[in-house]
Symmetry: C2
């Protein structure tokens, strides 16, 4: 049954080679104090930093810099940002970077005026903000997470080895605007590019592999998956293919801006497993997903044969003639595996630094969510994690 | 090449059987004077009028009624609305009805404070509003036009036999909120239901059959078309199938809220032909599209064989083995024709009241737009219109 839902996604997107010019329209809408948030400094090398700063100066902004946001932003970094945003009286949080930087800015948005410990409030108790939030803008330099058009923010607590995402229920926490220039993604190393491609694909899978419903959302997911498979192949062969990189950047946004889950259930277990692996290894997000997803999907396939069969036929073009549904379904996952190997993804968790001794801890750190074709017991999680090491 | 573009679609959608409760959240955001706009009175029979009015009263609104918006809203009706909105000092235009009522409310939104003749300004000179606009909300009772989440408004001038759509370039003209309850569409006559289904499908076609680009938008279009084909069949067999009607309602919104055209060219010639037929016959919008689309697409197929072949394979599942591209492409349009006949659509313009004597006038009234695989000459338009009569 198509469920009741709301949809509202007001983020203004500027897409294309001239997208940064959108800052000329957006910056005057906010106050004069801007907190400029970025990561390890790659934007200083590729010139994006200079371009952004020139536009901020042109708009007469007072800029405070907050560099050093790491790939898995930590709770200590969040506390540092809260102090800096308060001291500088920030009125706009401008994130320039990939999904981590954008996630971090959103976590900061709800934390600056929070009177409690934001980790406890948002990532332990999963509460919604009851304080004023700060507007976030984003200049995206990597395609994958979809953070540029949603209200989610993942934060890692190294002390407790927890990497936890909170999708806030309020569209005010979505970036007000996002600049999407596919050229900005072209200086990324191949490893990061393909990790992002798999992140996109997996976001769609998480919303697709759930429910017995007949839903328009699943048809949209199939179309988007086909686009990612196709453009992923082109970008893998030639990372300078602007059209392929554009399609991937656009697909990333739509893979996780809530559209694909409207009216249906979802199953985020691959992300839960991947994030638990990430909490122990600090590995690249997309690669943790790649390493655990096939063991997980092969484990649950018997409980959702019909959907895995549909996936095989509609997404991978498997001919079902003369095959059992289970055979067709298996062939779909084989086709997915071939594509993943073609991209050069990390296909097991050993290569990400997971050791047998970590498995019980990772299993304990894995949040079990409903919505999938099978609700996992702890021994099944351990079994999937063991499979993922091979 | 994936082009530069912006995307912003802030309409808040409330979807499902309880969607009308969204008015409780929305109404307090606007001033006390509400202009309640509706059509021929069907909402009085099916109880929607009473439900809406009760919520307006609960919110303490002063309500002025503007009934009688016709299926093809006229410029005289627009002038009437301008007078009434001014007299009542309307602060919110609440449209309760189908696409025509919603279109009308948007046309009114940009006209109330307009110092010139709005027909001349917006539908002859195609200018953007330079006056304050009024916010529009929408309670949708028919799925098809997508008017609930875009900035388009079609108005008809019976004096000049012109039916013209203007898609405004400003997201402020999109409805601020829309209530989408699939049950509300279930009291529609079968004729109106299938006309709406074809309207949805054709909106996707208009954005799909254009360009040589490799674009994510086309993959999304293919997914959405497959959903409409599937749910259209189910709804045709059983109009009380809530899931099918839900999918159709949701697909209608996404077929024309600008998503599917991002980064690519489009070809709106079927709408131009259909609207010219509508200006002469006052026929139901979706049926005018149904009657002209196959003659048009068969005419341009030789100029876009590759895309029509892709349509056949990706959307209709035609097996291309052992066939020329043109044969495969033709089979796609045959499959589309079979589906249209199954739905019971009007397949020729004679059945809509077009006579041979009208053809030169309709041809003259047809606006020729670029973007398609073939830019039509007047004799080609006449030829397509002649074909459409059979």
């Amino acid at each position: 049954m198509f469920g009741n839902f709301t949809y509202c996604n007001p983020t203004k997107l500027y897409f294309g080679e001239d997208a940064l010019q959108g800052l000329r329209t957006e910056l005057p809408r906010y106050g004069g104090n801007v907190l400029l948030i970025y990561g390890g400094g790659s934007i200083r090398k590729n010139g994006i930093y200079d371009e952004v700063l020139a536009l901020l100066r042109e708009a007469g902004k007072t800029v405070t810099e907050l560099p050093g946001v790491m790939p898995n932003p930590t709770v200590d970094k969040l506390y540092e940002g809260v102090r800096l945003a308060r001291e500088s009286r920030a009125e706009l949080l401008l994130a320039v970077g990939g999904g981590s930087v954008c996630d971090y800015a959103k976590a900061l948005s709800v934390s600056v005026n929070c009177r409690e410990d934001p980790w406890e409030k948002y990532y332990v108790r999963f509460e919604e903000p009851d304080c004023p939030t700060l507007p976030v803008g984003c200049v995206l330099t990597m395609a994958g997470t979809g953070s540029e058009m949603n209200a989610g923010a993942v934060i890692t607590n190294p002390g407790t080895k927890q990497k936890i995402g909170h999708v806030f229920a309020d569209e005010r926490i979505m970036p007000r605007f996002a600049v999407l220039n596919p050229r900005y993604t072209m200086t990324l190393p191949h490893y990061q590019m393909v990790a992002g491609i798999y992140d996109i694909f997996n976001h769609i899978c998480e919303q697709y592999f759930s429910g017995e419903d007949d839903s328009t959302s699943d048809y949209l997911s199939e179309g988007l998956m086909r686009s990612v498979i196709h453009s992923g192949r082109l970008a893998n062969r030639n990372p300078q293919d602007y059209e392929a990189r554009s399609n991937l950047m656009w697909a990333a946004t739509w893979a996780l801006n809530t559209l694909l889950s409207r009216g249906k259930s979802t199953d985020w277990m691959v992300h839960m497993l991947g994030q638990a692996v990430g909490g122990y290894t600090n590995a690249t997000h997309g690669m943790t997903l790649a390493a655990v997803s096939l063991p997980y999907y092969r484990h649950i396939l018997p409980y959702g044969v019909e959907k895995f069969r549909r996936f095989a036929v509609h997404v991978w073009g498997i001919d079902p003639a003369g095959k059992t549904d289970a055979q067709t379904a298996q062939e779909g996952l084989q086709a997915m595996e071939s594509w993943m190997r073609e991209l050069g993804l990390v296909m097991n968790t050993s290569d990400l630094g997971v050791t047998p001794g970590m498995l019980p801890g990772i299993a304990d750190a894995t949040i079990v969510m409903g919505g999938g074709y099978r609700r996992l017991e702890r021994d099944e999680i351990l079994e999937i994690l063991k499979e993922s090491m091979q």
